[in-house]
């Protein structure tokens, strides 16, 4: 199977990945090839088989209810490309056109 360039562009948008035209074309072929290989799983009868999302026999692991230290505000923003007064600064998410 092959993916179309449009399908690849759609997936790239879901993943918020900017791809060049060359990458879009390359990935259409390569992803198609890998997916064809992965399609082997679809021929297996799994009607009565539960999924395994993780392997440990653990459920509802809770932490003890006690106060613990954490990163300081200063440490938390130390790697931020842009911060102000202990906050992360981002580009505006909403425009201010009042629409």
């Amino acid at each position: 199977m092959n993916l179309t360039k449009d399908e690849v562009a759609h997936v790239a948008e879901l993943a918020k990945l900017q791809l060049t035209d060359t990458e879009l074309e390359e990935f259409a072929g390569q992803l198609g090839q890998i997916l064809t290989y992965a399609q082997q799983v679809q021929s297996v009868d799994t009607s009565a088989v539960p999924p395994t999302p993780q392997v440990l026999p653990l459920t509802n692991v809770l932490a003890t209810d006690e106060a613990r230290g954490s990163l300081s505000n200063e440490q938390a923003v130390v790697n931020a490309p842009d911060s102000d007064d202990g906050y992360f600064r981002v580009v505006a998410v909403f425009d201010d056109s009042g629409a």
Binding site: K16, L17, L19, F27, Y37, A38, Q40, V44, V55, A76
Partner: protein
């Protein structure tokens, strides 16, 4: 201890040797640390195992360790220098996961596994090269250039922990930490002629390990001997309140399992793992290792893993799905590379487009596709169901046998560049290793021979979840009854 030969001699020592030598006062931690730093200076220009070293910090820590020892400090790794794969967070030491998107990132906290090494007295020599975000089987996907195999500089060291494996094989460190999501500790250990241990899922905390496939990732030791792997696992294993996927079980004294006696041990040979496509010299070496196990008194039992062939496709669907979710955090806002997009979505797209390399993009794309509306049931859910069947195969097998023996990789180290343009061919090198991660098993690779080009061959032993003592006992008995460990790369 100052002579040049004596200094060089120190770099032949493993972790247990270093511990005993330091305890016996035969050399100091400063001597030892200086010896490894000099060795790195001498050979790393040729193999590029390290992304960065921390000589000043290491020597300072070594001097401190020597003072502590003089005052009676008996911690198990006191003053022993080690190398750490660059996907493990190290407070104050740049950590990039081999990616441009994390260039310059200095973590404000430390991975639990590294913290445990530090608490046991170990010293960090530096951070080792890795495929970007541990995605790869050759270390060629590092954004900072490939690592070369110390046995042959035209060959890859394996991956993704290729920097750690090459560093240990080249005597730049007595041992290192790696991480294994689909074989990334075991396969490079095999390619570099050393020992690599992937603990059972839940044995070692993943806190501070930069996440790739969260249901598969484990931290494991890369060493030149089985005894060293057992000792390091003793230190890093155990439940961690900061990782809810660690099992609340006591870590046994793994070193005590190394008796050399494996009489009566049941060793399973999966027929599905000896099929066309294995390099003949690899098959021959593994077959003679089976005879060696028999001569040590082990019982050789043919077994079947009917769904073995499906492990790799299942792995690639599961791991890329998990990766696409885990790597959503690289948004250029809280840390890492940041583009100058005009809108917030442009900012995300541009940051990620510029910061991730081709293999990381490919895997994010594959995972996003497998999780997207209309494909979830056919790919991701289906893969999780077949994952259950693969686990059931191993449950059945481990009711008949104690350990399962196979090659670690179908071939020895391939040439640099040989598979970079063929992602599927690269994936196929993981054919014997991924099932252990899918089923949560433990596994170890030990040297079992060399091919006609003098490249090392690795033998894999798999054990049931939390059965590390069995695979360590088997690997140790085999290692001690052969002389493969005595060969060293001429570098």
């Amino acid at each position: 201890m100052t002579g040049r030969n004596e200094t060089e001699q120190l770099t032949t020592l493993g972790v247990v040797d270093c511990r005993d030598g330091l305890a016996g006062g035969r050399f100091s931690s400063v001597d030892l640390t200086q010896a490894f730093l000099q060795r790195i200076d001498k050979v790393d220009g040729r193999i590029h195992a390290f992304l960065r070293t921390t000589p000043a910090q290491a020597l300072e820590a070594a001097a401190e360790a020597d003072r502590a020892r003089a005052e009676g400090d008996l911690r198990p790794l006191l003053g022993i220098p080690l190398a750490i794969k660059d996907v493990l967070m190290t407070t104050g030491i740049e950590t990039t996961a081999g990616s441009r998107i994390l260039e310059g990132f200095v973590p404000p906290y430390c991975a639990t596994a590294v913290e445990k090494l530090n608490s046991a007295g170990a010293i960090i020599l530096g951070k080792t090269n890795t495929d970007e975000f541990a995605m790869g089987s050759s270390t060629e996907n590092s954004a900072y250039g490939p690592t070369l195999n110390p046995w042959n500089l035209d060959r890859v060291p394996g991956g993704s922990s290729g920097g750690s494996a090459a560093a240990v094989a080249a005597h730049e460190a007595p041992a290192a930490l790696g991480t294994d999501t689909g074989g990334s500790v075991r396969q490079p250990a095999a390619f570099c002629g050393i020992v690599g241990l992937k603990p059972s899922y839940g044995r070692v905390s993943r806190y501070g390990l930069i996440a790739y496939g969260s249901s598969l990732d484990q931290v494991g030791p890369i060493t030149r001997s089985v005894a060293d792997a057992a000792l390091l696992l003793e230190v890093i294993a155990g439940a961690d309140a900061r990782d809810s996927t660690t099992m609340p079980v006591e870590a046994p004294a793994f070193s005590s399992a190394l008796t050399g006696d494996i009489a009566g041990l049941r060793v399973g040979i999966p027929q599905e793992y000896f099929v066309a496509g294995i390099q003949p010299e690899v098959e021959k070496a593994v077959r003679s290792a089976i005879e060696q196990f028999a001569s040590l008194g082990a019982e050789i039992v043919p077994i079947s893993l009917p769904n073995a062939e499906l492990a790799l496709p299942v792995y690639y669907l599961v791991v890329t799905a998990e990766a696409s979710a885990n790597l959503a955090r690289y948004d250029g806002i809280r840390f890492g590379l940041s583009a100058d997009g005009e809108t917030v979505f442009d900012h995300f797209r541009q940051t990620r487009g510029a910061g991730f390399g081709p293999e990381v993009k490919r895997r994010i794309m594959l995972g996003t596709y497998a999780l997207s509306a209309g494909y979830y049931d056919a790919y991701y859910l289906k893969a999780q169901q077949v994952r259950t069947m693969i686990r059931q195969d191993f449950d059945r097998a481990f009711s008949q046998v104690d350990v399962i023996l196979s090659p670690t990789s179908p071939t020895t180290a391939f040439r640099i560049g040989e598979k970079v343009d063929d992602p599927l061919a690269m994936i196929l090198t993981d054919i014997f290793t991924t099932s252990a991660n899918l089923a949560g098993l433990c596994g170890i690779s030990v040297p079992c021979g060399f091919d006609g080009d003098d490249l090392p061959i690795g033998l894999q032993l798999l054990g049931p979840p939390f059965g590390e003592e069995k695979i360590l006992a088997a690997a140790y008995a085999y290692e001690q009854s052969t002389e493969w460990r005595l060969r060293r790369p001429k570098l």
